[in-house]
Structure formats: structure tokens, C-alpha cells
């Protein structure tokens, strides 16, 4: 097969971003590159001057970077949920969506980890974590589990991609690119023995990745709940953060799907039904998130402990009321009707709900972190009023742009929709589903009789 042959194939549109590059690609990369450069320059300023260039002070000594760290790591649950759990439950509608989700996870974990490094006062001493680390500290739990999750999700992204890379290898013109694909395809030919190896590995990885993912956001929550600070020292934090992570991850996935569908003309592959199912999942997460938030705040309010109530009222009616109620509006008031009403749960509707949810979840991280720090138990002369500086905004924009840029580059090198999985589905889905149906109740799953 030569490079021109791919246009004649059934899934040609999935190969198109890889083999043909238009001006829009270069324009996107340039714009994103410029934003990333802004972020890099901001960080260089911060590295040379010190963390004083941020808006942080005393007692609000953690803010934007830690918020972004939690936020980005939270989004990483998109990949696990969709890919692993849907694969394990053999949901056939996952096929076009898995790779989009897995790439989000890998990239966002890297960027989240980077935010912690950005937050350090002495990043030049990062090796101290290796020489002198202490496993009693939740930050070390963080470091270990994020590394484990990053490694596991990279492997989990790569292994199902092998047949796709082999397809690219076979269609690519000779050159550096072909060498790259040949190397990464690990000699895939599609023999039955290789299929067995791959399927077994994917099945094991899918099972392995889920508990790692749950542990990651739980230990991120433990960074806060293991302290004694008012409204941080809460037993609900672990599950609360995991639910919030799945919530924001699904929203990001929906937005990514919508953008990719538009840009790469994937209307046949990302159908309204995918958005509908993910929208329903997100509806469940809206309710679950609301339940956890309600439980958390009611417990605090009913307990009426003075230190906690100061923090509580600073969120409800005080300095941070705008952020708190903004969070409620973005996470519950707007998405709930859109996702609950069938007629509104269209592609456009779910994307609008997702955008608000992404904003709302960022606000939720802010609301968790800053008010507690700003209201310490002992009266301090500065009751902590925090405002981000241009450096922090630059770095946040740079991180987001870096995520988008790496995503664009990934879609240039590898098919963003898993071609092999779709083709496998085309060949085997009917018989898998019919076999399954026949086990549900007697008489189900009979293939329709062909009239003679």
C-alpha cells in the first residue's frame, strides 16, 4: 500500500489529519505555541525572582498552582472512566471515544504534575524528594500515585494503539515517519497469536488502571484532609474529590469530542448518541457531586464549630461568596436542566453544560483551598485577600495551551479515533451483542429471519 491508497478506504477521514496537513494546523500550532511561550516566560520570571511575583502571601500560601494541580489531575479521570470501565463492561458505544479520552488523561497528568513543580519555592532541589523523601507526607503519596497513574495510562494508551500504528506504518511513505511507526508498531501483523497477546494485555491493564486512578485523586484529597485546618479535615474529601474528578473529566471529554468532531469532520464517528450517553453519565455525576457537597456543608453548618463557621460564612456570604455561588450555578443550576431534559441533551446542549461544569469545577477547587487558608484559627492581621498576579495567569494559560498543543500534535501523529477498534467492532459487534442478548432472557438475540 502506498500513501495515496488510504484515501480510498472506508475510514479515510480518520487518516486524513495524519497524512495531509493544511494551513489551519500551522495556524493553530502557532497560536498555541505563542501562548505556551507566554507561560514559559512567566515561569522564567518566577524562577529568577522567587514566588513573590505571584499573588500569594500569608496566610494564603497555596493558590493558583495548587488549584490547577488538583484541577488538571481531576480531569485525568476522563480516560479511565470511559476507556477502562466501558471496556470492562463491554459497552460497544465506547469504540470511537476511547482514544480521545486516553490522550486527555496522559497529557493532563503530566501538566498537573508540572504545576506542582511550578509551585515549589526551590525547584532546583527537587532531587531532595529522592534523597530524603518521607512516606508519612501526603505529598509523597501524591508523587508515587501520580507517577504510577501516568505510567499505567501511557501504557494503556499505547498498547491498544499498536494495530493503528501498524496501519499507519503500512500506509506511510518511506522516511523518518515510517521508521517511527515501524518502531512503535512492535512488529504487529494481525496474526491470531498477536491478537491474543494484545487482548490479554488490554484486559489486565483495564483492570489495573481503575484502582490506580481512584487512588490518585484520593491522595490528592488527602493532602488537604490530613491537615487539621477547618473545613479541610473532613472524612468525605477522598470520595468527594474522586467524584469531582470524574465529573470534570467527563465534561472535558465532551468538549474535546465536540471540537474534534468539528475540526476533523468526524460526524459519522461521534454521533449524537455518544454525547447523549456521556451526557447521562454527567447527569449522574451532577447529582452525585451535589449530594457530596450538600453533605459536606450541612455537616459543617449543623456542627456550628466557630473556626469552621468562619470559613463557612466566608464562602456563603463573605469574601468568596461570588465564587461559591458561581460554582453552584455552574455545576448544578445550569447543567442539571440541560442534561435532565431529553430534548436539551443534544450535542450543543451537552457541550454548553460541559463548559460550565469545567468552569464550575475550577471554582470548586478554589473554594476548597483558598477560604480555609484565608481564615486561620488564630487571628492574623492580614485576613488573607488573594488576587492572582499576571505571572500566575500566564502560567495557567501556558499550561492549558500546552495541553491543547500536545493534543494537536498527537492527532497529527496518530489517529484520534481508534481505527482498529472500530473495524473490530464492524466485524464482531453484531455477533458479540447477539450472543450476549441470548443470555439475558429466553428467546432474545435470535438473528432476524431472512425472508426467502
Amino acid at each position: 500500500m502506498t500513501e495515496s491508497d488510504w484515501r480510498k478506504e472506508e475510514d479515510a477521514i480518520l487518516f486524513q489529519p495524519i497524512f495531509s496537513t493544511g494551513w489551519r494546523f500551522y495556524a493553530t500550532v502557532t497560536v498555541l505555541g505563542a501562548l505556551v511561550l507566554w507561560g514559559v516566560i512567566s515561569y522564567i520570571v518566577q524562577y529568577r525572582e522567587g514566588l513573590g511575583v505571584t499573588g500569594m502571601g500569608f496566610p494564603v500560601s497555596w493558590s493558583f498552582y495548587i488549584i490547577n494541580f488538583v484541577f488538571f489531575i481531576g480531569i485525568s479521570h476522563a480516560g479511565t472512566l470511559i476507556s477502562a470501565i466501558l471496556r470492562l463492561s463491554q459497552a460497544e458505544w465506547r469504540r470511537p471515544v476511547t482514544r480521545i479520552a486516553e490522550v486527555i488523561t496522559v497529557l493532563v497528568l503530566g501538566i498537573g504534575g508540572m504545576n506542582i513543580l511550578i509551585d515549589l519555592g526551590r525547584p532546583d532541589r527537587i532531587m531532595n524528594l529522592f534523597y530524603y523523601g518521607r512516606y508519612q507526607s501526603p505529598l509523597l503519596w501524591d508523587a508515587t500515585s501520580v507517577t504510577a497513574y501516568l505510567t499505567a495510562s501511557s501504557v494503556y494508551l499505547f498498547v491498544p494503539m499498536i494495530p493503528d500504528i501498524a496501519m499507519l506504518r503500512d500506509r506511510c511513505a518511506p522516511g523518518w515517519r515510517k521508521f517511527f511507526y515501524q518502531t512503535m508498531a512492535l512488529g504487529w501483523e494481525g496474526t491470531p497469536a498477536q491478537h491474543r497477546v494484545l487482548n490479554r494485555a488490554i484486559a489486565i491493564l483495564a483492570v489495573l488502571v481503575v484502582p490506580i486512578a481512584v487512588s490518585v485523586h484520593t491522595v490528592v484529597a488527602f493532602v488537604f484532609s490530613m491537615t487539621l485546618q477547618p473545613m479541610w479535615h473532613s472524612t468525605i474529601f477522598g470520595p468527594y474529590f474522586v467524584v469531582g474528578a470524574i465529573f470534570s473529566g467527563t465534561a472535558t471529554l465532551l468538549v474535546a469530542m465536540a471540537i474534534l468532531r468539528k475540526v476533523f469532520h468526524l460526524e459519522d464517528y461521534l454521533q449524537p448518541i455518544h454525547f447523549n450517553y456521556l451526557g447521562l453519565l454527567m447527569l449522574v455525576m451532577v447529582l452525585l457531586w451535589t449530594y457530596f457537597t450538600f453533605a459536606e456543608y450541612l455537616t459543617t453548618y449543623y456542627g456550628n464549630e466557630p473556626n469552621e463557621m468562619r470559613v463557612f460564612f466566608s464562602k456563603f456570604t463573605g469574601k468568596y461568596a461570588l465564587f461559591f455561588w458561581g460554582m453552584v450555578v455552574c455545576n448544578l443550576v445550569i447543567p442539571f436542566p440541560i442534561l435532565a431534559i431529553n430534548r436539551l441533551r443534544t450535542i450543543g446542549g451537552t457541550v454548553i453544560a460541559s463548559v460550565f461544569i469545567i468552569i464550575g469545577m475550577w471554582l470548586e477547587r478554589f473554594i476548597i483551598i483558598v477560604p480555609t487558608l484565608a481564615n486561620p484559627r488564630l487571628p492574623e492581621y492580614a485576613q488573607g485577600s488573594y488576587f492572582p498576579s499576571i505571572v500566575e495567569i500566564g502560567i495557567m494559560v501556558g499550561c492549558t495551551a500546552l495541553f491543547c498543543l500536545l493534543y494537536v500534535l498527537f492527532s497529527k501523529l496518530f489517529p484520534i479515533v481508534s481505527v482498529a477498534e472500530i473495524r473490530e467492532g464492524r466485524e464482531h459487534t453484531e455477533e458479540i451483542v447477539h450472543k450476549r442478548l441470548s443470555r439475558y432472557a429466553p428467546g432474545l438475540g435470535k438473528l432476524p429471519q431472512v425472508n426467502p
Binding site: F130, G133, L140, T144, A148, A201, L208
Partner: protein, 95 residues
């Protein structure tokens, strides 16, 4: 499937070397992480500083990294062994 004869063009030997380098790199990374965890256990023992936490976390983390290295090796060598024995030459192959 899409490659009916499982035929594949021959590849330069550098491809296999590059693949092996990736595999070794990944395994080294996993070994490095496990070494790091081991060092942290050692420090916590020597400084009498919550040894139990280090052991507890190691009991979970080390099998994960070990498992990932094993899976990657399994996939690598499994795919390598599962190839057709005969690689058809790229040019004339009269049926």
C-alpha cells in the same frame, strides 16, 4: 482482518534495535522508581521515622510498577514471537 496474508515488508535491523531500546528504557524507568521507593524505606528505617508508612505504600506501589514493566515486556515479546515465521519479500511473489 485488514492484512489478509499477514504479509509485511521487511524492516531495517535498526527498527528492532530502536524497539529494544524503548523496552529497556521503560524497564529501567520502572526499576528506577522501585529503587527510589526502596531508598525511602531505607531512610525511614535509619531515621526511625514511620517505617510502617513506607512499607505500606511500597506494598502497593512496587507491584504496580513491576506489573507494568512485566506487561510491557509481555506485549513486546508476545508480538515479536507471534509474527509469521516467513516474511514475504516485497517484490515478485508469484502465486
Amino acid at each position: 482482518m485488514e492484512n489478509p496474508g499477514y504479509a509485511r515488508e521487511p524492516e531495517s535491523p535498526w527498527v528492532f534495535r530502536a524497539q529494544l531500546a524503548t523496552l529497556i528504557g521503560f524497564s529501567c524507568f520502572a526499576a528506577l522508581v522501585i529503587t527510589w521507593i526502596g531508598r525511602l524505606i531505607y531512610i525511614s528505617w535509619v531515621l526511625a521515622d514511620v517505617f510502617s508508612a513506607s512499607i505500606g505504600i511500597a506494598l502497593v506501589a512496587v507491584p504496580i510498577f513491576l506489573g507494568l514493566a512485566i506487561i510491557f515486556n509481555y506485549v513486546f515479546w508476545g508480538l515479536h514471537r507471534g509474527r509469521q515465521q516467513v516474511q514475504l519479500p516485497s517484490a515478485d511473489d508469484a502465486p
